[in-house]
């Protein structure tokens, strides 16, 4: 008998729901479901979901199927944000024990005399210094004194501390001192995070911070995963999503918890990337001179992802591949390993609108959250929120919210907006329009940060909207940025979990080398080879087949004397490419100025086989079978009689002319007058935006 292939399962834990996406390679089926999250013990919802999947599996197949789970855990993120990680000690070069506390010596808020800097993860009495020193060329100025480490071990034992970070100056050039300390500490049974392993790059505060975060969150993640692993069958496997958009083995995740922070949003971006690749996109808008040169090819995916939830909104940019940052800050702690560059703002459907002391209409950052939620939830919320405004304008059909399971109270929304309007000297509808415009201004600013501010022209991108609240705003936002089309995928609310299934195995490696720009290309290639060997070995150890390994090489480069680097793909023309990229990003290049190669960078990718998306046959353009109603909807240019469509009744090939509202169980899509949407072969709603 042929063995049944494993069921592949993506799991994402959100604030309200835990999402499951189950792919069965045997029949190509893809299904999704949601359970209420269990914040006190997040594993509870996950295990319940797995039980349900196992039960389903048994119901139509004899014997249990092995499960291949890819999981985005919030455990590491929450441990950091809520400061509930393991008590952590830090060992530094003598004289630098306070490196974390001093940080960059700047205060968090310029004009707030009462602001406090973020709480330091290692308290003063857990900072230990050792006599040793290495200089900027890797020379040992002072050898490590061995006895001191033994004293530290003794002190940690009496304090009952088991996790510890070691970060010595210039250890990325000469890691031996850190390694010797680690050897001694590990012999004593301590969990040790070394800066020369976690982030072998210069800038001691950021390196220390990243390393300490690893030491701080890994024990919590380890405990969680241990609990989880115990529940798995012998043939089941578990892999963990990372914030760089790839996944890693359980064993790696337990040791490198820092890589798992913010992995949920990363899953969303990977999901978008996959969906966008598959989507039948309308032809790209005509490109203009300079920008056309900067692009790498016509087939390249270019989308801006837009995930608007109840209290916050995440945006990211994909140009060929999701954009990476090495300058993230989470919970006040710099984390400088490569992460997907996701920009978050505190505005969402639950953001509260109010008039401030100077007479401006503010929306957020205060949020009604899920409880009590917007006024229209009828759970005691009185303040007008973005969701209430959408309801008052007729854009959000009250009776179809969450597939009709949770009808909204339009009269409460109306009352809340009428109260706000009275303060503004406007009626409820005018006030609601104002609230939407202000909320959109915040979103637009976020979208500009990740596009325009980083040298990308949004007119060359499409806006991919997922998450519950965004599709009511996507068309207007796209329009204001000159984006030609918006996309709403069918998996909108479970896209993060789906993205985990689509994710590849990704491991990132860097090393600061600080080489002059005259360094011959073959020399650089030689140096990169060391990282390539690490990458290949690690991927083989992860179980990736040799043929599925892809190694991407990059250099972090700058003009000598600058201190921000550009990441440039390594090739024979890497120096010329750097000048071009600098001109593209910052508007000027200095072809004659000396260049510096700061870091070597390698991304080792184990290619995955993402589940194919269902492709029902294309049918005719007439959507009338899905039309369920019509109503008055208020747009900026006035009221329009607007048809309502039920998304579940639309079939690929259908075409809808705006204005229109498309309701779905998990989201509502608004088309403005002049917008035209069509359902593509993968059931993505592709909205070509009118003016």
């Amino acid at each position: 008998m042929k063995t049944e292939p494993a069921l592949r399962i993506g799991i994402d834990i959100g604030g309200t729901f835990t999402d499951f996406v189950v792919y069965d390679p045997a029949d190509g089926s893809l299904r999704t479901f949601k359970l209420l999250s269990t914040p006190a013990d997040p594993a509870q919802a996950v295990l319940e979901g797995l039980d349900r999947i196992r039960a389903d599996g048994r119901s139509h197949l004899p014997g249990s199927r092995p499960l291949e789970i890819i999981h985005g855990s919030t455990v590491a993120t929450n441990a950091l944000l809520e400061r509930k990680g393991a008590p952590t000690a830090l060992v530094t070069t003598a004289g630098f024990g306070d490196v974390l506390q001093i940080g960059r010596q700047n205060r968090p808020a310029l004009y707030d005399l009462f602001a406090d800097p973020p709480e330091v993860l290692v308290p003063a009495d857990l900072r230990f210094e050792v006599d040793e020193r290495v200089d900027h060329e890797g020379n040992v100025l002072q050898a490590l004194a061995p006895g001191q480490v033994d004293e530290i071990v003794q002190k940690l034992k009496t304090r009952n501390i088991s996790s510890l970070a070691v970060c010595l100056l210039f250890s990325f050039l000469r890691p031996e001192h850190e390694q010797r300390i680690a050897e001694r500490l590990r012999r004593a049974g301590l969990l040790v995070s070394l800066s020369s392993e976690i982030l072998p790059e210069y800038r001691e505060f950021e390196r220390t911070s990243t390393t300490v975060v690893n030491a701080y969150v890994s024990p919590a993640l380890d405990a969680y995963l241990g609990h989880f692993e115990a529940d798995l069958g012998e043939r089941d496997s578990l892999r963990i999503m990372q914030s760089n958009g790839g996944n890693i083995s359980l064993d790696q995740a337990r040791r490198y918890g820092v890589r798992c922070i913010l992995s949920g949003p990363a899953g969303g971006v990977v999901g978008c990337d996959y969906v966008a690749r598959q989507a039948a996109l309308p032809p790209a808008a005509p490109q203009q001179g300079r920008q056309a040169e900067a692009g790498k090819g016509a087939e390249e995916v270019r989308v801006i992802t837009f995930d608007m939830g109840g209290t916050s909104t995440d945006v990211a940019l994909i140009e060929g591949h999701p954009t990476i940052t090495t300058e993230a800050v989470v919970g006040g702690c710099p984390i400088h390993i490569p992460l997907l560059d996701i920009h978050t703002i505190g505005a969402g459907g639950g953001s509260i609108a109010r008039l401030d002391a100077g007479g401006a209409l503010r929306v957020g950052p205060e949020s009604a959250g899920a409880d009590p939620g917007p006024a229209c939830y009828g759970r005691g919320g009185e303040a007008a929120t973005v969701t209430d405004a959408n309801l008052v304008l007729g854009r959000l059909p009250a009776e179809h919210f969450l597939g009709g399971q949770m009808p909204l109270d339009a009269s409460r929304a109306q009352a809340a907006l009428a109260r706000l309007g009275a303060e503004l000297g406007l009626n409820a509808e005018q006030a609601a329009l104002g609230v939407i415009q202000v909320a959109n201004a915040h979103m637009e600013r976020a979208l500009r940060v990740i596009s325009v501010e980083r040298g990308h022209d949004p007119r060359r991108f499409r806006l991919l909207s997922f998450g519950g609240a965004g599709s009511l705003h996507a068309a207007d936002l796209g329009r204001s940025l000159g984006i030609p089309a918006a996309i709403v995928p069918p998996l909108a609310s479970t896209l993060s979990a789906f993205g985990m299934l689509a994710a590849e195995v990704i491991k990132d490696y860097t090393r600061t080398v600080m080489l002059p720009g005259e360094t011959p290309i073959p020399d650089l290639a030689d140096r990169l080879r060391t990282l390539e060997m690490c990458g290949r070995d690690d991927l083989l150890a992860e179980g990736v087949a040799e043929a599925g390994i892809r190694l991407e090489r990059f250099l972090d480069m700058r003009y000598r004397g600058q201190s921000y680097e550009l990441i440039v793909p390594f090739s024979q023309s890497v120096y010329a490419d750097f000048h071009r990229l600098h001109a593209h990003q910052y508007g000027y290049a200095q072809e004659n100025a000396p260049v510096e190669v700061v870091n070597l960078r390698l991304r080792a990718v184990g290619q995955a086989e993402p589940p194919p998306l269902p492709r029902p046959p294309l049918q005719g353009p007439d959507p009338s079978a899905a039309r369920i109603d019509e109503r008055r909807v208020l747009f900026l240019d006035g009221p329009h009689t607007t048809p309502l469509y039920r998304a579940e009744l639309l079939v690929p090939g259908n075409r809808i002319e705006g204005p229109a509202v498309v309701v779905r169980a998990d989201t509502t899509v608004l088309l403005g007058p002049g917008d035209v949407a069509s359902l593509d072969a993968n059931s993505n709603l592709i909205i070509e935006l009118g003016r």
Binding site: G95, Y202, D356
Partner: protein
């Protein structure tokens, strides 16, 4: 209602985003650590009359000063400003503050291709960027000397056009570069500033293309009125009366006596008068503040008390009259040296303002913070060619400021080892510093126990010890070396700062301000002041 609450909020975001984007371009493409690592720069947008509409949250000391730069550019060139022109200046008596801060002002015009109504080529407004350059010549590397007249402090640049119709005026550029110690780095920084201004101008043009010139202009006016309203609300909430306070600078750096600064803040309904009469006359040494600095300090203090996220614009100061008699240390006249007015005297002006306002609103005002920026400049000739700098024998100039203790607040301790009030510049990472300069940091730590005692403790200062690996010159410009920052309501003073050299076994005390020659192997040790405590120590 003569304003639109919705447009106000939308444009607040749009203008702020444009100013911030300028800052991102400047920071990422500049060369000198002052700008790229320490972020000692500011970017702002102005209306066609030169009124500041938005400034990104960069450096407070630039707040009140940026508008005077734009005013100086307008005064000098008036109608002779065209599209693609860019005015550069650093003259403290004509729009600048101290010489290392070079400001670039670009007028922005409606491009002839714009579709919207409005006279083609009409002036839309200005964008400006200001950055602290690591060296602009003068008697010591880093251009922050203890001087007797401004001519010793470096190259003075009156408002000149660095760009005409987008063309670099290479004569002017060459003149500037010939007068500085690190010309390659200067060139990079100046180019970064030009790039930032271009980005800002581009954004303003885009806004006008999207909303039309009338609407943009109209909302600019509304935003000024908006910030003004919030300031008036604040003033109305304070009890009417006159509140006085006095504090002093240690000395002027030339061995003089303490330099008193006096203020009387009068609140009358929704207006205030801030009067510095009675402050010391301008000094022989470089602690003199030009009026722009005093204005910035007043601006900063009221901006903090607002406690509201309002745009930084000209409206904030509209209901506040600032009186600073010319010829005093808070409104110096040429040829006074001014390098320290920006970085040190500005802090003391904040201290006296907060001391006065603590009487009006005790719940909003902390005890004194470190009250200095601890300016350290180290310069000399490179012994070899460390990576990241020029050739052997070339000059280097390294400048840093060091954080200290913040004052205790009425409800909690003050933070330690942090920059307060008029600056918020970052440190240079130890590893970045050692890659770039012949220096080695031996210690960088919290100065435990230096915060003032009290019911709530002042924050602790910092200890920083730097070994020099070649003979060089160090210039110090630091304050609160005599008397520590004051406590409030019975809280104790923070410990004063200390400067020393370790040379072999010897420990040589240094004054708060001055230039000394260091020998290879010397270690410069700076201990920065702790913040003042709040309330009496509870038994």
């Amino acid at each position: 209602m003569n304003y639109d609450p919705i447009k106000l909020e939308i444009f607040k975001n749009l203008f702020a985003a444009a100013a911030e984007e300028m800052g991102t371009v400047l920071r990422r493409s500049s060369y000198s650590p002052n700008i790229k690592e320490r972020r000692d720069f500011s970017c702002a947008l102005f209306d066609a009359r030169g009124r500041m509409v938005a400034q990104a949250a960069h450096i407070p000391v630039h707040l009140g000063a940026m508008p005077l730069s734009v005013a100086a550019a307008i005064e000098k060139f008036g109608g002779d400003l065209g599209s693609g022109d860019l005015v550069m200046l650093n003259d403290p008596f004509r729009g600048g503050t101290h010489l290392p801060d070079i400001t670039m002002v670009s007028p922005v015009f409606l491009p002839s291709s714009a579709r919207q109504a409005g006279p083609t080529g009409s002036l839309l407004g200005f964008v400006a960027s200001r950055a602290h350059h690591a060296d602009v010549g003068g008697m010591t590397p880093g251009s922050m000397p203890v001087a007797r007249e401004i001519y010793q402090e470096g190259l003075i640049i009156p408002p000149v056009k660095l760009l005409r119709r987008d063309q670099m005026q290479t004569d002017i550029l060459d003149l500037v570069l010939a007068n500085v110690r690190t010309p390659q780095e200067r060139l990079g920084d100046l180019q970064a500033q030009i790039a930032a201004n271009r980005r800002g101008a581009g954004r303003l043009v885009e806004l006008v293309a999207r909303y039309g010139p009338e609407e943009v202009n109209e909302v600019m006016g509304q935003l000024l009125a908006y910030t003004e309203r919030t300031t008036r609300r604040l003033l109305e909430s304070l009890p009417n009366g006159t509140y006085r306070f006095e504090d002093h600078l240690d000395d002027d750096g030339l061995g003089g006596a303490p330099v008193p600064i006096r203020v009387a803040v009068s609140i009358h309904r929704d207006r205030a008068t801030v009067d510095f009469s009675g402050s010391a006359p301008q000094q022989a040494g470089s602690v003199n503040a030009v009026f722009a600095i005093t204005l910035s300090a007043v601006y900063y203090v009221f901006r903090c008390l607002l406690g509201l996220d309002v745009p930084n614009n000209a409206g904030c100061l509209a209901p506040i009259a600032v009186l600073a008699p010319p010829g005093t240390v808070v409104n110096a006249l040429p040829p006074a040296p001014v390098a320290g007015g920006n970085v040190e005297t500005s802090q003391r002006i904040v201290d006296v303002l907060l001391g006065a306002l603590a009487q009006a609103c005790p719940e909003k005002v902390p005890a004194a913070s470190q009250g200095t920026m601890n300016n350290v400049t180290i310069g000399g000739a490179l012994p070899r060619c460390p990576r990241g700098t020029g050739e052997a024998g070339a000059g280097f100039a390294y400048y840093e400021t060091i954080g200290g203790g913040m004052g205790a607040r009425p409800d909690r301790d003050g933070p330690s080892a942090i920059h307060s009030h008029m600056t918020n510049t970052l440190n240079t990472p130890v590893e970045a510093l050692e890659y770039a300069y012949p220096l080695r940091v031996q210690r960088y730590a919290v100065r435990a126990g230096s915060g003032g005692a009290g019911r709530f403790r002042g924050g602790d200062g910092i200890v920083r010890a730097i070994e020099v690996l070649t003979d060089c010159q160090v210039t110090l410009l630091s304050e609160r070396r005599g008397q520590g920052p004051y406590g409030l309501r019975g809280g104790g003073s923070g410990q004063p700062g200390e400067n020393r050299i370790l040379r072999g076994e010897a420990e040589i005390p240094l004054p708060g301000k001055g230039t000394v020659d260091l020998k290879k192997g010397d270690v410069l040790v700076i201990r920065t002041p702790g913040g003042g405590g709040y309330g009496p120590v509870e038994a």
